[in-house]
Amino acid sequence: MKGRVLLVEDEVNIFEAISFILSRDGWEVHGHGNGATALAEIARQAPDVLVLDVMLPGRSGLDILRDLRRDAATADLPVLMLTAKGQTKDRDLALALGANAYLTKPFSNAEMVATLRDVAGAS
């Protein structure tokens, strides 16, 4: 197993697809679909890497990222942000707030796998 991934994504079918391909790549994948309770779930699960969507119900992924970086316990947690194509401001803000990488929807599965490996430092 390469590590534990927490995928914070409210779109069920996107979650299932990503979860499947990451599992096939050797990751243990867990999911969460609510922005308002995401920080508590991250603390509870203590993943090795986080995949975080920007647009979430309850709370923006960017706000969650900001809090993660302020907390010493999660300041160095590898985070891969998912943004929508064309939302350049979201992407720039995510990097400014400390995201390790981003992918713009719609992305390919190969891109997802390669980027996650890169972010987590896994091979």
């Binding site: 779109e11 079918n13 299932e16 499947f20 929508a84 719609p106 992305f107 390919s108 599965n109």
Partner: protein, 437 residues
């Protein structure tokens, strides 16, 4: 920006217009001179603007050439003149030689019909440019469009990932294959619904000629149609609000509620500053808000709103005012449009407008001359103040008000104007420190 022909130049061109009219009629100089009882040489001096003319001789010449005297003395209508000057100065590459600006009066005298067509086309171009600007603004900020695009991108992302798995995993277990097929079907349905909804949205917009859709826009359109002045409320106060709303076209329930709020505020303002005395006082000080603050009991926002509700033109020569009101979050909640000063339909305006600066300094009036990227200048008065009831321990609801008035092109300014824009999405000032993204 529009220019008017100076009066002195109009007078100097009277002779030219007489000459052009005579030539257009095919009359000989000597024949015309004889008909009005002057010598041909004297008429020649008049026609070459070397003798001033007026009174009876002008009337006789006009009668002899079957033209209104004003056409000879004043030239073309000032608004037509402005339109034709604007057309000549629009910056379009000429297909032939440049326009002969110094001969516009001559052109107007000889071809009044063509002048009318040029002016009408110029107005049409200006209207279309405003419509294009509105559409561009909508595409950049339309919340419906933004939401639909996000939905479609999420759907496409799910379809792409799922179909990729189905194609690249030939030995996929049956339970997974079934699940992904079901997911694909769900996302395809969702994509279809989203695309249909988006098309319906555009069809609704396309069917409209006024580009109006939100309740706020409908209320503003109704206010625009009334010239932002409501005589019934001026006379009858709050009791007349319902009657005015009934007479407004295109209001649904939401827009009617908003209109009631706006008109109730209007009635309250009118009660505090009744039209007759306020109009007279404003005219006496050239509609300068600074000189009217005392009349408003120190309520600057009231004075600014009231000036924007005066009937434009009229015997008092009320100038065209623009008005923008925003809440404490900077959201624009009301606009009275003024030509050449674009206020976005959605999203924020320019952070450099005094409207926003006022929010940082409540109750402190601000005045600035603003310069738009195209060079158009506006004097802007702004203030932020609480609205509604306040009390100890209560959070005040703040609003900022900005009144706009065009600054004449030839007015000398004590200090340079403040460069501003219409809002970052449409502003060409790339190097602006206040630019968002």
């Amino acid at each position: 920006m529009a220019r008017s022909t100076p009066p002195s130049r109009r007078h100097a061109l009277t002779g030219s217009r007489i000459r052009e009219r005579r030539l257009a009629l095919g009359m000989k100089q000597g024949d015309l001179a004889e008909r009005v009882g002057v010598s041909a040489s004297y008429l020649n001096l008049i026609e070459h603007n070397k003798r001033r003319i007026g009174g009876k001789l002008l009337l006789d010449l006009a009668r002899a050439m079957e033209v209104e005297p004003a056409r000879l003395s004043d030239g073309m209508d000032a608004s037509l003149s402005d339109m034709v000057h604007a057309a000549a100065g629009a910056g379009l590459p000429a297909l032939g030689p440049p326009a002969e600006l110094d001969r516009i009066e001559e052109f107007a005298g000889r071809f009044p019909g063509w002048i009318g067509i040029i002016a009408a086309q110029q107005k049409r171009i200006a209207d279309l440019e405003a419509a294009v600007e509105g559409l561009r603004d909508r595409l950049a900020h339309d919340p419906v469009l933004a939401g639909a695009m996000h939905e479609m991108l999420s759907t496409v992302a799910a379809i792409r990932s799922t179909s990729d798995i189905l194609v690249r995993e030939p030995d996929l277990e049956a339970v997974w294959r079934g699940r992904f097929h079901r997911n694909l079907h769900e996302e395809a349905e969702r994509l279809s619904d989203n695309a249909t909804a988006l098309l319906r949205h555009f069809e609704r917009q396309g069917a409209r000629t006024d580009l109006v859709s939100t309740p706020q826009e409908r209320v503003e359109a109704a206010f625009d149609a009334a010239g932002h002045h409501f005589p019934a409320i001026e006379a009858g106060g709050v009791a007349s609000v319902a009657e005015v709303i009934e007479g407004m076209e295109g209001l649904d329930a939401g827009a009617a509620r908003l209109a009631r709020d706006r008109l109730t505020r209007y009635a309250e303002d009118a009660a505090r500053l009744p039209l007759g005395p306020f109009l007279a006082a404003a005219a006496a000080v050239d509609f300068n808000p600074e000189a009217l603050i005392g009349m408003g009991g120190g309520d600057v926002a009231l004075v600014l709103r009231r000036l924007a509700s005066l009937p434009e033109g009229g015997a008092e020569g009320v100038p065209g005012f623009g008005l923008a009101i925003c809440d404490a979050a900077g959201a624009l909640i009301f606009r009275r449009r003024i030509p050449a000063f674009s206020v976005p339909r959605y999203g924020a305006g320019c952070a450099l407008w005094p409207l926003y600066g006022a929010l940082a300094r409540p109750m402190v009036p601000d005045l600035a001359v603003l310069e738009q990227p195209d060079g158009a200048r506006f004097r802007a008065w702004a203030v932020a103040a609480p609205v509604g009831a306040t009390g100890f321990g209560a959070q005040p609801v703040m609003q900022a008000v900005m009144l706009l008035r065009a600054v004449p092109e030839d007015e000398a300014l004590a200090q340079g104007p403040r460069p501003v824009g219409p809002g970052c999405e449409m502003c060409p000032r790339e190097e602006c420190a206040a630019r968002r993204g």
